[in-house]
Symmetry: C2
Subunit: 352 residues, 2 copies
């Protein structure tokens, strides 16, 4: 592409700050390639909700659909009741735009502050990606409650899983595994307890596997997967899992790979009918908002995922290389002089 | 009590081996106190299912109900289809005997092989306990599937949560927090997405809190909890959470505290209407079954939980002290001469 038409949702807390640095890097790398970038800001999140009571309107969605991709900072603020923005903005975006592939890479970068004893559990580092289903599972909002606030209250949450929904994400995960050197796919579920959903996932993986004969497949229960993420993260290449398990595993994966400050993600519609959305895994961190303290690296790595998705692969690789170089220098530098959000963005942009 | 009438379920794989050492230690410690121990073996698990097609019968349950407590090894074998023994034996035991409190302590023992860089993330060790709800949540088996095996398959799993079920486990967790020096309770859920169940949990904690004014309460989303379990496990004292989140968090907790080989658990009916059941968190490990390689320490620590539950607190403390002494010696000993299952049991029993 020679132009890129982006929707930008800074959102709440540190969202706008890290997105600004993501855009700085995006402009730097695309300028060199002569790609024209247009951006349109969308006001979504706590501020708008407080001012208007609106979360995500049909008009917002219609407008968002017209862009090539969406860059999102973070949505969420303690002043808004829990669930309102998650179930009013973040999740409706993923669901309405059919972001069935929630892609979350986990790489051990140089100088990463992993809580693991790396020399012992991962002497050669690790590099895996979680393909989290993004439009089904317990996230569908099909729960309810009866007799709320009484001793007879009953509250349910329904996990909905369909052959259609599982197959498309499983096929995407196989394709990603196929494209990687190790070609290994691990299904994570809990099919010994959640037998209906679990067996659907298992049968789907078995049914798609023959299309990818080079990919080796294994299975872990979600509880066992958390053990392996700490004692042997290098065993993983591509993990495919449901929406809730993926939520849990990717935060753990971010932690062991050196923190949520480096974790990027893409909410992808593989059919390309709708724009895909790229966002750091971290939240809005209201405690440090507006102070220039947030690390924009996850947002910048999310820009790299965005560039790759829209077909600007060399630009994506250059951004990743610049981040790697910055992290390498950071790792060997004095920690006593932490850089501001903007300084990190400028340092990475300067390498492009 | 001056006598103890135990049901013993060795089960599958390494189950019978580790239970034998648990009983060795139990006999050694109760003998000194003049407590008479009677045991009755129950044949549950893969072997019986293969021979008779039976899992857990009403007659089994009636007989089990007559005992003071149950000691269980492990249930599960790859020769049995996934879900059959879990949903036919293990979970029906927990559900029928109203084991609403699934108690799982996590202590960093000396010499523990934690994957964490302990000097950095937990220089003073850690010691917390997870109170996992055991009779509700997504474990209730209220799922189903339509059009199985077709492209139109839909599979659901329903998490059921009741005020009755949540309140009893929350109250138990508060009481445990109250009895510990730090008096801290952390609720773990995902109430920003699972709003109905999550808000029931949240409101219940808020409603019970005034009864325990000394206990300080906080909340974490389950994804964030996995981060803290790796970057700052010492922040936890008592965690209370639902059945599925508890399953996931306790395996992770076992990993960071040095492995599932040391993790004990109790399935407790706090009303004492039914016998409670004590079992190591690890599974049947069929790959090493019958070789005397399994570490019986988790089974022995489960015996300590059992003793404490039936009111033999000094005996429980002596078992825990013996395990601690053994682990301390183990930690400083050569790893080149691993002891057999029986040798570990004998070494711990010899200290009593
Ligand atoms: C904020 C929340 C709704 C969201 C999720 O659970 O998916 C977040 O934890 C994430 O992982 O992107
Ligand atoms: C075997 C399985 C049904 C069980 C569970 O999920 O509860 C196990 O993982 C556990 O933690 O005791």
């Amino acid at each position: 592409p020679t132009s890129l038409d982006l929707a930008v949702v800074g959102g709440d807390g540190i969202g706008p700050e890290v997105v600004a640095e993501g855009l700085r890097v995006l402009r730097a790398v695309t300028e060199a390639d002569g790609v024209e970038v247009r951006t349109t800001d969308y006001d979504l999140g706590a501020q708008r909700w407080h001012a208007t009571g609106e979360t995500l309107t049909d008009a917002d969605l219609d407008a968002l659909r017209g862009h090539d991709a969406i860059l999102l900072g973070a949505i969420g603020d303690p002043s808004v009741p829990s669930g309102v923005l998650e179930r009013g903005v973040l999740l409706p975006l993923r669901f309405a735009l059919d972001h069935c592939v929630n892609l979350r890479p986990s790489t051990l970068f140089p100088g990463a502050q992993s809580p693991l004893d790396l020399a012992r559990v991962a002497p050669d580092g690790f590099d895996f990606v979680v393909v989290r289903e993004g439009t089904e599972g317990p996230y569908v909002g099909n729960g309810g409650a009866l007799r709320v606030g009484t001793p007879h209250e009953i509250a349910t949450e329904v996990s909905v899983n369909t052959a259609f929904g599982v197959e498309r994400v499983v096929r995407d995960a196989f394709a990603r595994a196929q494209a990687r050197p190790r070609k290994k796919l691990t299904l994570v579920h809990k099919h010994n307890v959640l037998v209906h959903a679990g067996h659907l996932w298992r049968r789907t993986v078995e049914a798609v596997a023959p299309e990818f004969p080079e990919v080796s497949v294994d299975y872990l229960h979600v509880d066992a997967a958390t053990i392996f993420l700490t004692v042997d993260p290098a065993r993983f290449d591509v993990i495919v899992t449901d929406n809730l398990f993926g939520d849990i595993l990717t935060d753990l994966a971010a932690a062991v790979s050196g923190g949520i400050g480096l974790a990027a993600s893409g909410n992808i519609d593989p059919s390309r009918t709708n724009p895909s959305m790229f966002e750091p895994v971290h939240g809005s961190a209201p405690d440090i908002a507006g102070q220039g303290k947030a690390d924009p690296t996850a947002a910048i790595l999310s820009v790299a995922l965005l560039l790759r998705h829209v077909g600007l692969v060399p630009a994506a690789e250059r951004v990743e290389a610049a981040v790697l170089a910055d992290l390498t220098e950071r790792g060997s530098a004095q920690r006593s002089t932490p850089r501001s959000t903007q300084e990190v963005g400028e340092a990475i942009a300067a390498r492009l």
